[in-house]
């Protein structure tokens, strides 16, 4: 019975594939030069979760005395995956997701044709709606309107509670986190939402701001933030500037990525070199050129940074 079903599914899929195959798939859309295979960027499977876990390992915890959860920036993912749109779709809220091709639908639905050509449609939840399921939190960092920080929810919760241990505000913060983590995926909150939906009082909101979980955005609205993240932002911006300076000062304003990774970091650069390299590639502050000796990073003129 199962073998027959599999056969029928295969036949159905092949018939559908002929009609629904995109013309674009016939043509090799981008000319790819033969270049040295890069172990990380060679991934073709869009597995955002494993990329996030890899980037988390690059984050130096010791620097902040273990008080910060590992922070990854959203644009660092663009340097690992070619398709920015699919990265955005998997990280941002899903009401912007639309299945435009049959292939993507196929991966989410399994259609089983029965003997008398009736079809049962099973839907499987998309495995990558990380923010929907409350696994990932996104923060607006403040130094760039397009730079978003991503933190795994468990790490965030653990570190915040660790930081709050022994303080009077612990109860309020715990209440906020239990309300926030499973359902909410907003970056900022306004007063109405805090008072009515979450049922916090004014004094509790003040406590949350004091503890660093909320930062002031405007009169009556607050950004969600990571406590003690000021130091992180300061080191991050300094390090980014220093690494960009290294690329700019190289001969012709360009340097091989492997050579840059091997360079000694100055005292300005507190994070690992690879962390900064993913950042500058993803934010398109340097141009990535594939050569026969590997990836070349060329400084892009006109950067404000």
């Amino acid at each position: 019975m199962r073998k027959q079903l599999n056969k029928e599914v295969a036949v159905f899929k092949s018939r559908m594939n002929r009609k629904r195959a995109l013309i674009a798939d016939t043509f090799c859309l981008t000319k790819r030069r033969r270049c040295a295979a890069d172990s990380v960027t060679g991934e073709s499977q869009a597995d955002i979760r494993s990329s996030l876990q890899y980037l988390v390992t690059l984050f130096s915890r010791k620097l902040f005395n273990d008080s910060l959860p590992p922070v990854v920036l959203k644009h660092q993912l663009y340097s690992l995956h070619n398709d920015k749109t699919s990265v955005d779709k998997q990280v941002v809220r899903s009401d912007c997701n639309k299945c435009s091709t049959w292939d993507s639908v196929q991966s989410h639905f399994i259609i089983i044709t029965l003997m008398h050509s009736e079809a049962l449609v099973f839907s499987f939840p998309r495995q990558n709606e990380l923010r929907e399921t409350g696994e990932l939190l996104m923060f607006q960092l403040g130094f760039d309107s397009e730079a978003f920080a991503l933190v795994f929810a468990e790490d965030y919760r653990a570190k915040v509670l660790q930081g709050e241990a022994g303080r009077g505000t612990l109860g309020t913060v715990e209440k906020f986190l239990t309300k926030l983590i499973p359902s909410c995926s907003d970056l900022s909150f306004n007063k109405e939402k805090m008072l009515k939906e979450f049922l916090f009082t004014d004094s509790e909101i003040t406590q949350l701001v004091k503890s660093g979980v909320l930062t002031v955005r405007d009169a009556g609205s607050w950004w969600l933030s990571i406590p003690n993240s000021g130091k992180f932002i300061k080191y991050f911006i300094k390090g980014r500037k220093a690494v960009l300076g290294m690329v700019k000062k190289s001969k012709y304003g360009e340097i091989l990525q492997t050579e840059l990774e091997g360079r000694r970091t100055t005292s300005q650069v507190k994070f690992q070199m690879k962390y900064h390299i993913h950042d500058i590639i993803g934010a398109e502050l340097v141009e990535c050129i594939q050569t026969t000796s590997g990836t070349l990073l060329r400084y892009v003129d006109g950067n404000v940074n």
């Binding site: 013309i23 043509f27 859309l29 990265v87 779709k89 912007c96 609205s221």
Partner: protein
């Protein structure tokens, strides 16, 4: 390709599919061709290009020196080497020439007897192509950045004009007067565009970072503004709420079916919107370098299966896949900034003009005939000659 031909022949596929596949293949192989040239008439940068819709034969160009030139794109000589000749020019010696740079030119959508040009000398002129004299002239208070006539309108002949004034003006060609003003923007209007699907829908882009979609039949304000965060007010600071870009919006282009709208802004981003609901489709094109202080003129391909966007980026033209956001290629060839580009749908050619006073034609690369075939052909010809 052979599979497409076989499928067409045996009826497995629709005829349109083969046509689209071939168009896509041609667009993917666009290159500068040493056989195709365009006459160099302009002494200063070229700001705008327009190819007429009816035959696709004549092209208008407007330059920073106020000169307007008409070119014939069709190759009637039997040779492959062809220079697109300039048929006529409204040069500096003409009495009616624009005093300052011409920003936008557009052919009348229904025939080539008329074209409209607008310029920084605060006028918009409607020209008669036969005599090259303006039949009508509209005066405005500020520099005119752009104008557009609806390509599908039969019931009205309104020209939408964007000037330094935050009010969008609608001028009627039939009566010669300014009949309507659209209020809602707070900054200079850098780009206006009619929808190719409905003759009453108009999109306008301005320096106040907003894009408004209007229905000109309505007396009250705009239908909606495009919001880059799709109503999610929590993502940005409170000043940036309800904006289409984080900087000036200086380019607008509808796709050929009118269902989607592309906007470019000085925040180096290009966004694709659903033109019916105003929803941001969140296609990420990456950094689309945009330093233009005036409107940016870019174009979308027609008749291909994944459509392509051609955007001038610095001194090259970037080609992106419309729905995937992938950078396909950069067309390099200009010596200075590229200001405008125009797609010829029948031959899948791209014409681009820029500050280096050149108009470059990007032509699909044809497969070279095999050397063996040429030899056998010439042998056959010689044999048949000796026979006779």
């Amino acid at each position: 390709m052979l599979s497409f031909l076989y499928a067409r022949q045996s009826g497995l596929d629709d005829p349109v599919r083969l046509r689209r596949a071939e168009s896509t293949r041609r667009v993917l192989s666009l290159e500068l061709n040493h056989n195709r040239d365009v006459d160099r008439i302009h002494g200063n940068g070229i700001n705008t290009l327009d190819i007429e819709v009816i035959d696709g034969r004549y092209m208008l160009s407007g330059g920073s020196d106020g000169v307007i030139v008409i070119y014939d794109l069709e190759n009637n000589s039997k040779k492959p080497q062809y220079t697109c000749k300039a048929i006529c020019t409204v040069g500096r010696s003409s009495r009616h020439v624009h005093k300052f740079s011409v920003e936008t030119v557009q052919w009348y959508p229904h025939d080539t007897g008329m074209f409209v040009s607008s310029s920084f000398d605060k006028t918009m002129k409607v020209w008669d192509t036969e005599t090259l004299k303006p039949a009508e002239e509209f005066q405005f208070d500020g520099n005119v950045y752009c104008h557009h006539m609806s390509p599908v309108a039969r019931k009205h002949s309104l020209v939408a004009v964007g000037t330094k004034d935050p009010k969008v003006q609608l001028c009627d060609l039939k009566s010669g007067s300014r009949i309507h003003i659209l209020q809602g923007h707070r900054g200079e209007i850098l780009s206006v565009r009619w929808s190719p699907r409905y003759d009453h829908i108009l999109a306008t882009a301005s320096t106040d970072s907003r894009v408004h979609i209007w229905d000109v039949r309505r007396a009250s304000g705009s239908l909606f503004t495009l919001d880059q965060h799709n109503g999610d007010k929590s993502k940005t600071s409170s000043e940036a709420v309800n904006t289409a870009h984080n900087g000036r919006v200086n380019g607008l282009c509808f796709t050929a079916d009118g269902l989607h709208l592309l906007t470019t802004g000085t925040d180096d981003r290009m966004r694709l919107w659903n033109s019916a609901t105003g929803e941001n489709t969140l296609v990420n094109y990456g950094k689309v370098v945009n330093e233009s202080r005036k409107g940016l003129k870019f174009t979308v391909s027609r008749g291909c299966s994944p459509e392509f966007v051609f955007v001038p980026c610095g001194s090259s033209v970037a080609v992106y896949g419309l729905h995937s956001g992938e950078l396909i290629t950069m067309l390099r060839g200009h010596y200075n900034n590229v200001d405008c580009c125009e797609f010829h749908p029948d031959y899948q050619e791209l014409y681009s003009g820029g500050k280096d006073c050149n108009i470059l034609a990007w032509v699909p690369v044809l497969r070279q005939p095999d050397i063996e075939d040429e030899e056998t052909n010439s042998k056959r010809v010689k044999q048949s000659e000796t026979f006779f």
